[in-house]
Protein backbone atom coordinates (compact mmCIF):
# COMPACT_ATOMS: atom_id res chain seq x y z
CA UNK A 1 0.00 0.00 0.00
CA UNK A 2 2.74 2.47 0.96
CA UNK A 3 4.74 1.67 -2.17
CA UNK A 4 1.66 2.22 -4.28
CA UNK A 5 0.92 5.57 -2.66
CA UNK A 6 4.53 6.61 -3.31
CA UNK A 7 4.05 5.90 -6.99
CA UNK A 8 0.80 7.84 -7.05
CA UNK A 9 2.49 10.77 -5.31
CA UNK A 10 5.23 10.80 -7.95
CA UNK A 11 2.82 10.69 -10.87
CA UNK A 12 0.77 13.47 -9.35
CA UNK A 13 3.85 15.69 -8.91
CA UNK A 14 5.05 14.97 -12.43
CA UNK A 15 1.81 16.16 -13.95
CA UNK A 16 1.51 19.07 -11.57
CA UNK A 17 4.86 20.84 -11.78
CA UNK A 18 4.87 21.31 -15.55
CA UNK A 19 1.60 23.19 -15.80
CA UNK A 20 2.14 25.18 -12.59
CA UNK A 21 4.97 27.30 -14.04
CA UNK A 22 3.42 28.02 -17.44
CA UNK A 23 -0.04 28.80 -16.16
CA UNK A 24 1.23 31.18 -13.46
CA UNK A 25 3.22 33.11 -16.08
CA UNK A 26 0.24 33.32 -18.42
CA UNK A 27 -2.13 34.39 -15.63
CA UNK A 28 0.33 37.06 -14.46
CA UNK A 29 0.71 38.39 -17.99
CA UNK A 30 -3.03 38.47 -18.57
CA UNK A 31 -3.65 40.28 -15.27
CA UNK A 32 -1.03 42.87 -16.19
CA UNK A 33 -2.60 43.29 -19.62
CA UNK A 34 -6.02 43.76 -18.06
CA UNK A 35 -4.64 46.43 -15.69
CA UNK A 36 -3.04 48.10 -18.72
CA UNK A 37 -6.27 48.44 -20.64
CA UNK A 38 -8.01 49.58 -17.44
CA UNK A 39 -5.58 52.34 -16.44
CA UNK A 40 -4.05 53.07 -19.86
CA UNK A 41 -0.44 52.46 -18.82
CA UNK A 42 0.29 50.58 -22.00
CA UNK A 43 3.38 48.39 -21.77
CA UNK A 44 4.23 48.54 -18.07
CA UNK A 45 1.43 46.47 -16.61
CA UNK A 46 2.22 43.61 -18.97
CA UNK A 47 5.94 43.76 -18.18
CA UNK A 48 5.45 43.81 -14.42
CA UNK A 49 2.68 41.20 -14.67
CA UNK A 50 4.84 38.72 -16.56
CA UNK A 51 7.70 39.20 -14.08
CA UNK A 52 5.34 38.66 -11.12
CA UNK A 53 3.83 35.67 -12.90
CA UNK A 54 7.21 34.01 -13.40
CA UNK A 55 8.06 34.65 -9.75
CA UNK A 56 4.73 33.18 -8.65
CA UNK A 57 5.28 30.10 -10.82
CA UNK A 58 8.80 29.54 -9.49
CA UNK A 59 7.57 30.01 -5.94
CA UNK A 60 4.79 27.47 -6.46
CA UNK A 61 7.18 24.89 -7.90
CA UNK A 62 9.67 25.60 -5.08
CA UNK A 63 6.97 25.05 -2.44
CA UNK A 64 5.89 21.74 -3.93
CA UNK A 65 9.51 20.62 -4.25
CA UNK A 66 10.41 21.44 -0.64
CA UNK A 67 7.34 19.54 0.58
CA UNK A 68 8.51 16.56 -1.49
CA UNK A 69 11.96 16.70 0.17
CA UNK A 70 10.52 16.63 3.67
CA UNK A 71 8.37 13.62 2.82
CA UNK A 72 11.44 11.84 1.43
CA UNK A 73 13.39 12.44 4.64
CA UNK A 74 10.47 11.12 6.66
CA UNK A 75 10.37 7.87 4.71
CA UNK A 76 14.15 7.55 5.02
CA UNK A 77 13.89 7.90 8.80
CA UNK A 78 11.21 5.24 8.91
CA UNK A 79 13.40 2.87 6.94
CA UNK A 80 16.42 3.28 9.22
Amino acid sequence: MSKNSGFRQGVQLAFRLGTELTVATIVGGLMGYALDSFFGTKPWGLVVGVVFGVVAGCLGVYRVATKMNIEDEDTNKNLE
Binding site: Q12, F15, R16, T19, V23, V27, G28, F52, G53, A56
Partner: protein, 242 residues
Protein backbone atom coordinates in the same frame (compact mmCIF):
# COMPACT_ATOMS: atom_id res chain seq x y z
CA UNK B 1 -8.01 12.14 -44.72
CA UNK B 2 -10.53 12.92 -42.04
CA UNK B 3 -9.96 15.88 -39.75
CA UNK B 4 -8.41 14.51 -36.51
CA UNK B 5 -10.34 17.07 -34.47
CA UNK B 6 -13.63 15.93 -35.97
CA UNK B 7 -14.64 13.89 -32.93
CA UNK B 8 -14.51 16.91 -30.61
CA UNK B 9 -17.37 18.62 -32.46
CA UNK B 10 -20.66 19.08 -30.67
CA UNK B 11 -23.75 18.11 -32.68
CA UNK B 12 -27.28 18.91 -31.66
CA UNK B 13 -29.33 15.74 -31.63
CA UNK B 14 -32.64 17.06 -30.29
CA UNK B 15 -32.82 20.85 -30.82
CA UNK B 16 -34.63 22.69 -28.02
CA UNK B 17 -34.78 26.50 -28.04
CA UNK B 18 -36.59 28.25 -25.21
CA UNK B 19 -36.69 32.04 -25.33
CA UNK B 20 -33.32 32.57 -27.00
CA UNK B 21 -31.61 29.98 -24.82
CA UNK B 22 -30.09 27.02 -26.62
CA UNK B 23 -31.02 24.04 -24.45
CA UNK B 24 -30.52 21.48 -27.21
CA UNK B 25 -29.56 17.96 -26.29
CA UNK B 26 -26.21 17.37 -27.97
CA UNK B 27 -23.86 14.39 -28.04
CA UNK B 28 -21.92 16.05 -25.17
CA UNK B 29 -25.03 16.15 -22.98
CA UNK B 30 -25.78 12.52 -23.76
CA UNK B 31 -22.20 11.50 -22.86
CA UNK B 32 -22.65 13.30 -19.54
CA UNK B 33 -25.95 11.51 -18.90
CA UNK B 34 -24.36 8.16 -19.67
CA UNK B 35 -21.65 9.01 -17.13
CA UNK B 36 -24.27 9.78 -14.50
CA UNK B 37 -26.19 6.61 -15.33
CA UNK B 38 -22.99 4.57 -15.01
CA UNK B 39 -22.22 5.97 -11.55
CA UNK B 40 -25.84 5.58 -10.52
CA UNK B 41 -26.13 1.97 -11.60
CA UNK B 42 -22.73 0.99 -10.22
CA UNK B 43 -22.58 2.95 -6.97
CA UNK B 44 -25.70 4.81 -5.91
CA UNK B 45 -28.48 2.24 -6.45
CA UNK B 46 -26.59 -0.76 -5.01
CA UNK B 47 -25.67 1.32 -1.96
CA UNK B 48 -29.28 2.45 -1.47
CA UNK B 49 -30.58 -1.10 -1.84
CA UNK B 50 -28.71 -2.07 1.27
CA UNK B 51 -25.21 -3.40 1.90
CA UNK B 52 -24.46 -6.88 3.13
CA UNK B 53 -21.86 -7.73 5.75
CA UNK B 54 -20.11 -10.08 3.34
CA UNK B 55 -19.48 -7.94 0.26
CA UNK B 56 -20.42 -9.18 -3.18
CA UNK B 57 -18.53 -8.30 -6.35
CA UNK B 58 -20.08 -4.88 -6.88
CA UNK B 59 -19.92 -4.00 -3.20
CA UNK B 60 -16.20 -4.80 -3.06
CA UNK B 61 -15.55 -2.37 -5.90
CA UNK B 62 -17.64 0.21 -4.08
CA UNK B 63 -15.78 -0.33 -0.82
CA UNK B 64 -12.35 -0.14 -2.46
CA UNK B 65 -13.30 3.11 -4.23
CA UNK B 66 -14.61 4.66 -1.03
CA UNK B 67 -11.55 3.54 0.95
CA UNK B 68 -9.34 5.14 -1.70
CA UNK B 69 -11.23 8.41 -1.58
CA UNK B 70 -11.32 8.47 2.21
CA UNK B 71 -7.56 7.97 2.41
CA UNK B 72 -7.07 10.84 -0.01
CA UNK B 73 -9.30 13.16 2.03
CA UNK B 74 -7.71 12.11 5.34
CA UNK B 75 -4.23 12.77 4.03
CA UNK B 76 -4.79 16.25 2.61
CA UNK B 77 -7.71 17.74 4.54
CA UNK B 78 -7.55 15.92 7.86
CA UNK B 79 -9.64 13.22 9.47
CA UNK B 80 -12.05 15.42 11.43
CA UNK B 81 -12.50 18.35 9.03
CA UNK B 82 -12.48 16.14 5.98
CA UNK B 83 -15.57 14.14 6.86
CA UNK B 84 -18.12 16.54 5.42
CA UNK B 85 -16.19 16.90 2.15
CA UNK B 86 -16.08 13.18 1.37
CA UNK B 87 -19.41 13.14 -0.57
CA UNK B 88 -18.32 16.06 -2.74
CA UNK B 89 -14.84 14.66 -3.41
CA UNK B 90 -16.24 11.20 -4.15
CA UNK B 91 -18.82 12.44 -6.65
CA UNK B 92 -16.24 14.66 -8.33
CA UNK B 93 -13.77 11.79 -8.69
CA UNK B 94 -16.33 9.26 -9.88
CA UNK B 95 -17.95 11.62 -12.38
CA UNK B 96 -14.65 12.71 -13.97
CA UNK B 97 -13.45 9.11 -14.05
CA UNK B 98 -16.69 7.94 -15.66
CA UNK B 99 -16.54 10.71 -18.27
CA UNK B 100 -12.89 9.96 -19.07
CA UNK B 101 -13.60 6.26 -19.43
CA UNK B 102 -16.68 6.82 -21.61
CA UNK B 103 -14.43 8.81 -23.92
CA UNK B 104 -12.34 5.68 -24.44
CA UNK B 105 -15.27 3.88 -26.10
CA UNK B 106 -14.88 4.37 -29.87
CA UNK B 107 -17.50 6.64 -31.36
CA UNK B 108 -18.49 8.21 -28.06
CA UNK B 109 -17.82 11.74 -26.85
CA UNK B 110 -15.28 12.79 -24.21
CA UNK B 111 -16.91 15.51 -22.16
CA UNK B 112 -13.66 16.39 -20.35
CA UNK B 113 -12.16 17.44 -23.72
CA UNK B 114 -14.26 20.61 -23.47
CA UNK B 115 -12.51 23.34 -21.50
CA UNK B 116 -15.95 24.74 -20.65
CA UNK B 117 -16.72 21.64 -18.57
CA UNK B 118 -13.37 21.45 -16.77
CA UNK B 119 -13.36 25.23 -16.35
CA UNK B 120 -16.76 25.19 -14.66
CA UNK B 121 -15.56 22.45 -12.29
CA UNK B 122 -12.38 24.39 -11.46
CA UNK B 123 -14.08 27.76 -11.00
CA UNK B 124 -16.74 26.14 -8.83
CA UNK B 125 -14.05 24.59 -6.65
CA UNK B 126 -12.20 27.93 -6.46
CA UNK B 127 -15.32 29.79 -5.33
CA UNK B 128 -16.05 26.99 -2.87
CA UNK B 129 -12.59 27.27 -1.30
CA UNK B 130 -13.04 31.04 -0.96
CA UNK B 131 -16.41 30.55 0.75
CA UNK B 132 -14.98 27.89 3.09
CA UNK B 133 -12.02 30.12 3.93
CA UNK B 134 -14.06 33.23 4.70
CA UNK B 135 -16.69 31.35 6.69
CA UNK B 136 -14.08 29.51 8.74
CA UNK B 137 -11.54 32.28 9.41
CA UNK B 138 -13.45 35.50 8.69
CA UNK B 139 -11.19 38.35 7.62
CA UNK B 140 -8.14 36.47 8.94
CA UNK B 141 -8.48 34.44 5.75
CA UNK B 142 -6.75 37.29 3.90
CA UNK B 143 -3.63 36.21 5.82
CA UNK B 144 -3.30 33.43 3.23
CA UNK B 145 -1.87 36.15 0.97
CA UNK B 146 1.06 36.71 3.35
CA UNK B 147 3.31 33.67 3.72
CA UNK B 148 4.62 33.12 7.26
CA UNK B 149 8.09 34.28 8.22
CA UNK B 150 8.78 36.90 5.58
CA UNK B 151 10.23 40.36 6.39
CA UNK B 152 7.74 43.24 6.50
CA UNK B 153 9.51 45.03 3.64
CA UNK B 154 8.60 42.25 1.24
CA UNK B 155 4.88 42.16 2.08
CA UNK B 156 3.75 44.61 -0.67
CA UNK B 157 5.78 42.57 -3.13
CA UNK B 158 4.43 39.22 -1.97
CA UNK B 159 0.73 40.12 -2.11
CA UNK B 160 0.47 40.42 -5.94
CA UNK B 161 2.56 37.26 -6.31
CA UNK B 162 0.28 35.33 -3.96
CA UNK B 163 -2.81 36.68 -5.74
CA UNK B 164 -1.41 35.47 -9.06
CA UNK B 165 -0.66 32.03 -7.66
CA UNK B 166 -4.18 31.85 -6.17
CA UNK B 167 -5.80 32.73 -9.51
CA UNK B 168 -3.48 30.36 -11.38
CA UNK B 169 -4.82 27.40 -9.37
CA UNK B 170 -8.23 26.97 -11.05
CA UNK B 171 -6.72 27.78 -14.46
CA UNK B 172 -4.03 25.12 -14.16
CA UNK B 173 -6.55 22.65 -12.68
CA UNK B 174 -8.88 22.97 -15.67
CA UNK B 175 -6.19 23.26 -18.35
CA UNK B 176 -4.37 20.14 -17.11
CA UNK B 177 -7.40 17.85 -17.40
CA UNK B 178 -8.58 19.38 -20.67
CA UNK B 179 -5.15 19.36 -22.34
CA UNK B 180 -4.24 15.81 -21.35
CA UNK B 181 -7.53 14.35 -22.57
CA UNK B 182 -7.58 16.38 -25.79
CA UNK B 183 -3.95 15.59 -26.63
CA UNK B 184 -4.42 11.86 -26.12
CA UNK B 185 -7.55 11.66 -28.23
CA UNK B 186 -5.98 13.76 -31.00
CA UNK B 187 -2.97 11.44 -31.11
CA UNK B 188 -5.30 8.45 -31.36
CA UNK B 189 -7.25 10.09 -34.19
CA UNK B 190 -4.07 10.97 -36.11
CA UNK B 191 -2.71 7.44 -35.75
CA UNK B 192 -6.00 5.92 -36.93
CA UNK B 193 -5.92 8.31 -39.90
CA UNK B 194 -2.42 7.12 -40.79
CA UNK B 195 -3.47 3.50 -40.43
CA UNK B 196 -6.36 4.09 -42.84
CA UNK B 197 -4.30 6.04 -45.38
CA UNK B 198 -2.02 3.28 -46.63
CA UNK B 199 -2.79 -0.42 -46.68
CA UNK B 200 0.86 -1.40 -47.15
CA UNK B 201 2.29 -0.21 -43.84
CA UNK B 202 -0.94 0.70 -42.16
CA UNK B 203 -0.44 -2.04 -39.58
CA UNK B 204 2.40 -0.07 -38.00
CA UNK B 205 0.39 2.96 -36.83
CA UNK B 206 -2.46 0.59 -36.03
CA UNK B 207 -0.17 -1.28 -33.63
CA UNK B 208 0.72 2.01 -32.02
CA UNK B 209 -2.95 2.84 -31.49
CA UNK B 210 -3.27 -0.32 -29.39
CA UNK B 211 -0.37 0.78 -27.16
CA UNK B 212 -1.62 4.39 -26.96
CA UNK B 213 -5.08 3.10 -26.04
CA UNK B 214 -3.58 1.41 -22.99
CA UNK B 215 -1.73 4.62 -22.13
CA UNK B 216 -4.93 6.63 -22.50
CA UNK B 217 -6.73 4.27 -20.13
CA UNK B 218 -4.04 4.94 -17.52
CA UNK B 219 -4.21 8.70 -18.21
CA UNK B 220 -7.98 8.63 -17.69
CA UNK B 221 -7.46 7.26 -14.16
CA UNK B 222 -4.45 9.45 -13.36
CA UNK B 223 -6.07 12.69 -14.48
CA UNK B 224 -9.25 12.02 -12.50
CA UNK B 225 -7.03 11.25 -9.49
CA UNK B 226 -4.93 14.40 -9.92
CA UNK B 227 -7.98 16.61 -10.31
CA UNK B 228 -9.53 15.36 -7.09
CA UNK B 229 -6.29 15.27 -5.11
CA UNK B 230 -5.57 18.89 -6.01
CA UNK B 231 -9.10 19.79 -4.97
CA UNK B 232 -8.32 18.16 -1.60
CA UNK B 233 -5.01 20.06 -1.38
CA UNK B 234 -6.70 23.38 -2.08
CA UNK B 235 -9.48 22.78 0.45
CA UNK B 236 -6.89 21.65 3.00
CA UNK B 237 -4.77 24.77 2.40
CA UNK B 238 -7.77 26.99 2.99
CA UNK B 239 -8.78 25.15 6.19
CA UNK B 240 -5.33 25.01 7.76
CA UNK B 241 -3.99 28.43 6.55
CA UNK B 242 -0.28 27.53 6.18
Amino acid sequence: MENPLHHFEVHNIIPIHIGGLDLSISNAVIAMWVGLALIGSMFVFPANRGLSLVPGKLQSVLEIAMEFIRNMVNEFIGEEEGKKYIPFIASLFLFILACNLIGMVPGSYTITCQIVVTGVFAVGIFVMTLIIGFSKHGLHFLGILIPPGIPKVLIPLMIPIEIISMVARPVSLSVRLFANMTAGHTILAVLFGLAMSSLMIGWLPFGFTVAINGLELAIAFIQAYIFTILTCVYIGDVIHLH
